[in-house]
Amino acid sequence: MTALLALESVHKAFTLHLRGGLRLPVVEDANVSVHPGECVVLGGPSGAGKSSLLKIAFGNYRCDHGRVLVRDGDATVDIATASPRRIIALRRTVIASVTQFLRVIPRVGAREVVAAAGREAGLPAGEAATRAADLLARLNLPERLWDLPPATFSGGEQQRVNIARGLVGDHPLLLLDEPTASLDAGNRAVVIDLIRARQAAGAGVLGIFHDADVRDAVATRIVDVTRFHPRQAA
Amino acid sequence: MTPRVRVPETGYNFAYLDEATKRMIRRALLKAVAIPGYQVPFAAREMPMPYGWGTGGVQVTAAILGRNDVLKVIDQGSDDTTNAVSIRAFFARTAGVAVTTRTRDATVIQTRHRIPEAPLAEGQVLVYQVPIPEPLRFLEPRETETRQLHALAEYGPMHVKLYEDIARHGHIATTYAYPVEVAGRYVMDPSPTPKFDNPKMDDCPALQLFGAGREKRIYAVPPYTRVRSLDFEDHPFRVQHFDRPCALCGAGDVYLDEVLTDDAGGRMFVCSDTDHCEARREAGHRGEGA
C-alpha cells in the first residue's frame, strides 16, 4: 500500500426525476489512485466528468458502484459507504478540498475564515491564527482586507481566501478543482509553490488545472478521464 | 364594642353554613394542615357578602368555630373598620359566639392584611382572607402549569419576580404578598399581608389557615412551621422600617399606618394594630402625638 486515495471501478450516473427519470451517466469504471507526494491531474475536455470525480472523492456526490478508499492513518475508509459522521471526520483532518467557489459565511472576516478551518483541522488556536496570516500574506491578499468578510471581495480575492482555507491544515489528501482559475500569474506561482511544498511533505493531490503552466509545474501524472466516459448515454 | 349575643339568630345553621358544608371545609383544612403551604381546592359557597369582603376567610372561620370560641376580626390591623365590624357581627348573630378585640383573649382571629403585633400563642387560630392564592400567577397564568410547578417544586420562576423587582427598583420592592417557602417545600402567597409580618409566620405557635373564596382554595401553616421569605444572597429579605415610632403609643417595632388628622394636610403615623396601640396606652406608654 498504500494509496492515500483509490477510486476503484467507480460508476456514477444522475437520474433526473424531474425530467421523466432521464439517466445521465457521468463516469463508468473509473480507477484513479493518489500516493503520497503525487499530484495526479485529471485531464480531458469539460463535461468529461473531472469535477464529478473530485466530488465523489470528497463524498459530495454519491458513488453508485465501486469503492472510494481513503487512507486515514492506519485505517482505510470507503467513502462510498461510510457514514456521514465518518466522512465529516475525514474532511476535518484527512481530505481538504478547494473548489472555485467560496461558500461564505456572512459576517466572518477572511483571516478568521481561514483560522477557523485550521482549528477545525485540529490546529491549536494560536497556530491556526499564525498560519492563516502567513498564508494570506503569501497569497498577497492586502492586509486591510483580512478582517473583512470575503463576501465583499473580488473573485480573485475570494479564491485566495478559499485556497488558504484549504491549505491551512495538515490534510494528507488535497482535492483541488481549478484553484488558480481566477488568479494572476504572480499568485498562480505562489499557489504552485504551496502545492509543491505539500507534496514534498508527503501529501497527495488530486486536481483539475486548466492553466497549462500550473499543470506542468505540479503534475506528477495526468489521468485522462475521457477513458472513464460512458460509451453510450442511455 | 359589640355586645355579646349568647343566643344565635334563629332560622340559620350555627355559624351560617350547613353542617355538610362545614365538614367538607374541615376535610380540606385537614389536608391543608397535613401538607403545609399546599393549596387545597374546596367547594366554596356563596356567602351573604360580596367577593373581596373575605368570603374565603368567613367560610374557614365558620367551619372551625365552636360555641366556646372567642372571635376577633381585624382588617388592616383594625378592629373597627366596616369589614371587621360586619364579619364580627355576622358570627355574633349566626353563632352566638363571644367576640373580642383583645388579641390575647381571642381563640380565633380572622384577618385581612395584618398579623397582630402581640405574639400569638398555642391554641389560637389565625384565619387569613386571601384574594389571590397563587404566588406563581404573576409569571404563569395557566393553572395547569402552576400546579405542575408546585408539584415539582420548580420555583425558579418565583425568583424571577424578585429579580424583576431589583432590576426595576434596585431592591426587592414587593411589600405585600411577599412569597414564602413553607416547611422547605411549597411556595405560598401570604397575600395580602405586608412583608413586615412575614417573620411572624415563621415558627408561630398558632395555627394559620388561609381561605380564598373566589378562587376556592384553602391552605395552612401548622404551628411551629418554618416559613422562609424568598430572597437573594446579595439582596436578603428585610422588613420595612419606619423612621419614627407610633405617634400615639410610642411603639418603635410595629407596623404603622399614616392617618390624616385634618383638612390642612396634618397627618401622623400610628400603629396599624389598634388593639396593640390601646393596650400600650393603657399600660402608660405615650407617643409624641398623644
Partner: protein, 261 residues
C-alpha cells in the same frame, strides 16, 4: 476515535404519531452525536415540527422512543424518566428555540429576567451573579447591555430570537432543538442570526436538531440533513451530498425549487 466519541447523545428510534387518522410522522430514527447538527427539511405539513415536539416530549408518541445520554453516561429513555427529572433535563441540558418567540419567551419579564430564569431554576440565588451572566449572554447574542431591563415586546423579531437563544443556552445545554428559528425575519436579519447560531454551535460543541423549510439554512448550519415528506423520512445523509446530489424525486424537486441553496 474512542468509544466515548461514538456514543450518541440522542437516539431516536421508530418515532411515530397519529392525530386521529391523520399521520403526524412515522418510523423516524436517527442518532445524534455531540457537536452534530441535523437539519430536518420539508414543506409545511411534512411532519417535521411534529417530530420536534415528539423529541421534546411535548406531544406523546404513539410509537418508538427517544433516548438521551445523561451526564452520568446513562442512555435514558425519556418516557421512563419521572416528570420532575424530564423537566429538569429540559431546562438544563436541553434548549428549545421556537419559531414564535412569544411562546419561547416570557413577554411580561425583562430580557435579563428571561435569561436569568433558568439559572434561578437550577438554584442560583445571587442577584449580582445572575445579572452578570445575563449581561454576558446579551453580549454573546449581540443585544446591547442597555436593553437588559427592557421587555421583549419592545424588541425586533431578530432580537427576540437572539434573546430566546440566550435564554436557552445560559445553562450550557448539550442539545438544542430549533423550530424554524429564522423564518419570518428579514433576509439580512436572518443572515446575522444564522451566523450567530453557527458560531455558538461550533464554540459550545452543541448537538442541534433544526427544523427548517429553508435549504440555505440547512446548508449553512448542518452536517446532516433529513428530508421529510408526508410524515416520513424519504432521504437522509451528509448535507452537501443530499443538496448537491439528491437521489429522491421529491428531494430533487425541493432542491430545484430554490434559487440558490
Amino acid at each position: 476515535m474512542t468509544t466515548d466519541d461514538d456514543a450518541p447523545l440522542l437516539r431516536v428510534e421508530g418515532l411515530g404519531k397519529h392525530y386521529g387518522r391523520r399521520l403526524g410522522c412515522a418510523g423516524v430514527s436517527f442518532d445524534l452525536h455531540p457537536g452534530e447538527v441535523l437539519a430536518v427539511v420539508g414543506e409545511s405539513g411534512s411532519g417535521k415540527s411534529t417530530l420536534l415536539s415528539l423529541i421534546a416530549g411535548e406531544v406523546p408518541a404513539d410509537a418508538g422512543r427517544v433516548r438521551f445520554r445523561l451526564r452520568d453516561g446513562r442512555l435514558a429513555d425519556l418516557t421512563e424518566l419521572s416528570e420532575a427529572d424530564r423537566r429538569a433535563l429540559m431546562r438544563t441540558d436541553w434548549g428549545f428555540v421556537r419559531q414564535d418567540a412569544t411562546r419561547g419567551l416570557r413577554m411580561g419579564v425583562s430580557a435579563g429576567g428571561n435569561i436569568g430564569e433558568r439559572l434561578m431554576g437550577v438554584g442560583w440565588r445571587h442577584y449580582g451573579e445572575i445579572r452578570s451572566s445575563a449581561l454576558d449572554w446579551l453580549r454573546k447574542v449581540e443585544i446591547g447591555a442597555d436593553r437588559i431591563d427592557d421587555h421583549p415586546g419592545s424588541f425586533s423579531g431578530g432580537m427576540r430570537q437572539r434573546l430566546q437563544i440566550a435564554r436557552n443556552l445560559v445553562t450550557g445545554p448539550r442539545l438544542l432543538l430549533m423550530d424554524e428559528p429564522t423564518s419570518g425575519l428579514d433576509v439580512s436579519v436572518q443572515a446575522r442570526l444564522l451566523d450567530l447560531i453557527r458560531g455558538l454551535v461550533a464554540e459550545l460543541g452543541l448537538a442541534v436538531v433544526i427544523v427548517t423549510h429553508d435549504l440555505a439554512v440547512a446548508r449553512l448550519l448542518s452536517h446532516r440533513v433529513m428530508v421529510m415528506r408526508a410524515g416520513r423520512v424519504i432521504e437522509t445523509g451528509l448535507t452537501d451530498r443530499v443538496l448537491d446530489d439528491p437521489a429522491e424525486p421529491y428531494t430533487q424537486l425541493l432542491v430545484a425549487s430554490v434559487l440558490a441553496a
